[in-house]
Amino acid sequence: MIERVGRRTVDAIKAVGRFGQFLGDLARAVPDVGVWGRLTIVQLRRVGVDSLPVALFIAAFTGVVLALQASYTFRNTVPLYFVGTLVGKTMMLELGPVLAGLALAGRVGASMAAELGTMKVTEQVDALETLAYDPHSFLVLPRVIAGTAMFPAIVALAILTGIVTGWLASLVLLDLSTQEFVKGLKVFYRFKDTWFGLFKSATFGFTITLVGCVVGLGTRGGAEGVGLSTTRAVVYSAVLLLVLDAFWALVLLR
């Protein structure tokens, strides 16, 4: 028992050390712009454009559900234009970034872990090194930069979609007018509502892509190892995303 605890503690310390070394290597790769600059453009498209449909799909239905739940909660007690307030605030502050983040942890994080994991076990990462490329500048930096840059853009569009579908649901299903919905949207709006969600989503993008890369490049074994890494990347990303969400609320919203 004591031996097992000791071994796990040592493993955990080693993992932290490896992560620190990984970040150090990543920082040293930053001046290698000639390599990561061109590849980042490819990743921006892959992370951004390819991820957009799933994020918008989730946001569209969330907007409708939020409007209906708000109306159900407020009826006979709170003026119905507050539906706009709840849809806007909730999409901007929480559900837009978090739901899109969780969906993209599954899509982007898993795909990066699987891709890099496969490259690792088929010696493509070793091949890169023997060709005098640093895997951090060739593989990791483009993905992390693309994730950090594109997540806020995806989330902004997701928030917009959620608000629009919430507005449409209010018009069609709740007999709320556009003026009332917009009044609700404006009533407690602060600029912080916008930048908080977008800033948070940038940190989610950074975390999800970094975890996908770290886990992918740490893959050992064959197909089973790749499968394990893919699952790990999704679980670690989702957990870290929720921890980060609570952290930013504590730091920025108090």
Partner: protein, 241 residues
């Protein structure tokens, strides 16, 4: 010259290399033979710094590989072509992009780069395959692209990791001829890791047998063929124990 000096390496407390010492002279090809899992590929990866030794070192032209910093390692790797067991081609790139990848690091003009890619593909008889993707190639063609990628760099050294494993005898013979042609064409120093004895006899100037983490015997092809060491004899004759 490449010198393995008392190289030790283990994984998860299991020793793989236990004092490997071997010298590869300039312009010769040494074939390292040995049973599967005896650390042949592990030894090869130490030459380019893909693995760090537990003790001992590999010395390439006077440079101790494990002590090199990033710049030193990059400079060393520019002099070495590495042909991987399963070619390790990049799936998302065409054949010509795979071959050109290492060259892009060397600041060649587009014309020079294209010429070097054409030349390398011609050496491995793959002219016209430029725009194909690795998934569209046979195992033998993939290995030839791997060799083209290595020789396009015009390296001083080429390391081959199991170049004929998994190939039919005819394709394996083609790869053997290619390795011989590459040595004659470029005058490079080579290390070939294999357990294919026909390949070893064809491409090797000398053959070294790795056994229990050390070199059991090293000698010319004739010396190995006439060996009286029972372990080496059993291996080269492929007799069950």
């Amino acid at each position: 010259m490449i010198r393995f000096e008392d190289l030790h390496k283990g994984f998860d407390a299991k020793p793989v290399l236990a004092g490997l010492s071997l010298t590869v002279e300039d312009r010769e090809t040494v074939v390292i033979i040995g049973y599967s899992g005896t650390g042949k590929s592990v030894a090869l990866k130490h030459v380019v710094g893909l693995l760090q030794p537990d003790a001992g070192d590999v010395i390439v032209d006077g440079r101790a590989v494990s002590t090199l910093d990033r710049e030193g390692l990059t400079a060393l790797r520019r002099e070495i072509g590495f042909v991987f067991q399963f070619a390790a081609l990049f799936d998302s790139m065409t054949v010509s992009d795979n071959v050109a990848l290492g060259l892009r690091r060397r600041g060649l003009s587009d014309d020079d780069l294209a010429a070097r890619v054409r030349e390398a593909l011609a050496v491995v008889d793959l002219t016209g395959a430029d725009d194909r993707y690795p998934a569209e190639l046979s195992g033998g063609m993939r290995k030839r692209v791997g060799i083209a990628r290595a020789i396009a760099l015009r390296p001083r050294y080429i390391l081959y990791d199991e170049p004929t494993t998994g190939l039919d005898p005819v394709t394996a013979a083609v790869i053997d001829q290619l390795m011989v042609r590459t040595r004659e064409h470029l005058g490079v120093t080579g290390i070939v890791v294999t357990h294919d004895m026909r390949s070893a006899y064809t491409v090797g100037d000398r053959i070294a047998m790795l056994y229990e983490g050390k070199i059991r015997q090293v000698g010319t092809v004739a010396e190995i063929q006439e060996t009286e060491d029972p372990v080496v004899r059993q291996f080269i004759e492929g007799r069950p124990g």
